[in-house]
């Protein structure tokens, strides 16, 4: 098992390297001259000054030299500077990534627990009241846009009831854990709702499929309790496809939560990516893209490990 994990982890390195090449050249292929972004549209700058500016940012060297310079710096821990504000990219990431992680992991945990539990209960009580409630939640969660749900939540819990803050991540008066946590509740919940319904559907279907398998009959015929049939025999088999959904939601939660971040004015990384893209801040774009690629790779390794733990056929290399 240790060897299996090590092998999977080592595979990340060459893949990240390839992705870094793609990211770098793709952005530079767009032909958008980074220097032109620096100059206000109504200012006339001489060609010499432009060249000087280019030389200053190292943009006059051949592309491959620039690439190795960039990747070399990254390996040394220097992610470069934003060409818009001059802040180092490392600082931007250090400021926004924890906020994003907070939200993403919170949503992931909440939606996994609620989604799987409801899905399993729906499957066990198929066509019963629990199942109908579950199916209603599933339809609601998938069909309601996130921003709409977020606005409703703000309207009810922040404006009408005044229980929770409208947005933001923290304020100067923050002391206790609850002070911080109350900022998290609404955005996490909003982020979770769509995923709860997806997970509910998947775990319900997966569980129903497993419950029809012959080995469930074998298990029942041993005389064991229904609880044991469901948890020991069915759930572990039903979880495998559900795990794929959960794990591959992670990069999406990290890179794609622009809507949530703007509805709740949450200072996360998606906002930074959107800002950098519109202002052509290529050092920020490149590093954040690389970061999301890394999240996807780590997620897929994580998925391999979890799958192997759940299923001996994968662990022992028969599939």
């Amino acid at each position: 098992m240790g060897k299996f994990i090590l092998k999977k982890c080592l595979m990340i390195i060459p893949m990240l390297f390839i992705i870094s090449v793609l990211v770098f050249f793709a952005i530079r292929m767009t032909k958008a001259d980074p220097v032109s972004w620096l100059i206000p549209a109504d200012v006339v700058v001489s060609e010499e000054n432009m060249e000087a500016l280019r030389a200053r940012y190292g943009l006059d060297a051949p592309l491959y030299v620039q690439y190795f310079r960039w990747i070399g710096n990254i390996l040394r821990g220097d992610f470069g500077k934003s060409i818009v504000g001059g802040t180092s990219v490392a600082t931007i990431i250090a400021r926004s990534l924890p906020a994003t992680f907070e939200l993403a992991f919170g949503a992931l945990i909440i939606s996994s627990v609620i989604g799987i539990t409801l899905g399993v209960l729906s499957a066990i009580h198929q066509n019963g009241p629990v199942d109908y409630i579950g199916r209603f939640i599933a339809v609601l969660g998938t069909s309601m846009p996130q921003f709409f749900f977020g606005i409703i939540m703000i309207q009810i819990f922040a404006i009408k009831l005044g229980w929770l803050p409208i947005g933001g991540r923290t304020d100067p008066s923050v002391v206790t854990f609850w002070d911080r946590a109350k900022y998290l509740i609404l955005p996490t919940l909003t982020m979770s709702i769509a995923m709860i319904s997806t997970l509910l559907k998947y775990s319900r279907n997966s569980m129903l499929e497993v419950l029809n398998k012959d080995y469930i009959k074998t298990a029942r015929m041993k005389g064991i309790s229904e609880k044991r049939v469901y948890i020991t025999h069915a759930l572990r088999n039903a979880l495998r496809p559900v795990m794929v959904i959960i794990i591959f939601r992670l990069p999406l939660l990290i890179g794609g939560s622009v809507v949530i971040e703007s509805v709740f004015s949450w200072p996360g990384i998606s906002t930074q990516i959107v800002g950098a893209t519109t202002s052509g801040d290529y050092p920020v774009i490149m590093v954040t893209t690389l970061l999301i690629a890394a999240t996807i790779l780590v997620s897929s390794v994580l998925l391999d490990i979890i799958t192997a733990l759940l299923d001996p056929r994968v662990r022992l290399g028969k599939e």
């Binding site: 009959k217 064991i224 001996p312």
Partner: protein
Amino acid sequence: MDENIILRVRKLNTSFKTEDGVIPIVKDVDFDVKRGTILAVVGESGCGKSVTMNSVCRLLGKNAQIEAEAIDYMQQEEDGSVHPVHMKDLTNTSKEMRALRGKEISMIFQDPMSSLNPVYKVGRQVMEALLQHQKMSKQEAMAQVIEMFKKLGIPDPENRVNNYPFEFSGGMKQRVVIAIAMINNPQLLIADEPTTALDVTIQAQIMELMVRLKEEQQKTIILITHNMGLVAETADEVAVMYMGRVVESGTADQIFAYPAHPYTDALMRSVPVLGAMEDGKELATIPGQTPNPKDVTDGCEFANRCDKCMDCCKTGLVGNHEVEPGHFVRCHLFDGKGVRS
């Protein structure tokens, strides 16, 4: 009640709720299983043999409706006394039902490829059944599992208990399934087409194992099959089912000597016999197809495929007639309405 009977089923009716309404699958099924014998339940696919047994063990889904006049299991205590358990009054998941499963009645399923949980070691899966019904440590239980593997002819049992199902061949998997069924030493073993998914040589080994269980340990076995050859070799009693009804029942000798029901007769004639076929002669088949259970209306279910069909067969219920002691046939040919051909 006769002490020799281990399972008595009277007027078992099982139907399924579907989108097309309630469809009866098992109709008025009666049978007795004698202690220490093999009863073969024979019939084409879809005739309700498996549903009958799954109804007895309460393994059907929520859309199944099971009604019966009696499903009585005669439980024999260690001192030899016998008392009946009225299984028709038990719910699917009741304690009493679970106490019977595995301990008194066991089942072997058709496809060994899918009847073991793929994610657990086989030893653990057998042990689970043992620990459910008997108080002992895991070490003691594992020792018993290894012992059982040895008895069932699984080579190298000490190491094999730590393998996963996918590391076993089909025949070996079926032995593990049998080990699960046998580990608590139950009195009644229901084998639902135990050899259908296996190749012929393995088939013979598994059947030999079953016959040995009956002869050496006086187990009772209900063998569900559509293989007439197997029935001839192993069964003591036979019940032939068609479209959810038992159409003929009796001892194996009676039925093979004198297949009274036209369906049984047709079944026997459609068994290929190696070397006994005349050159160029075609194997007899039963004309037509088994009807869809939801289309069956009135009269004898076999009427539209029967070469001896009479007018009276097309309406009303057909009674059960004893053509010789212990040999029952559900056919108008024997009730005087029609003349036996």
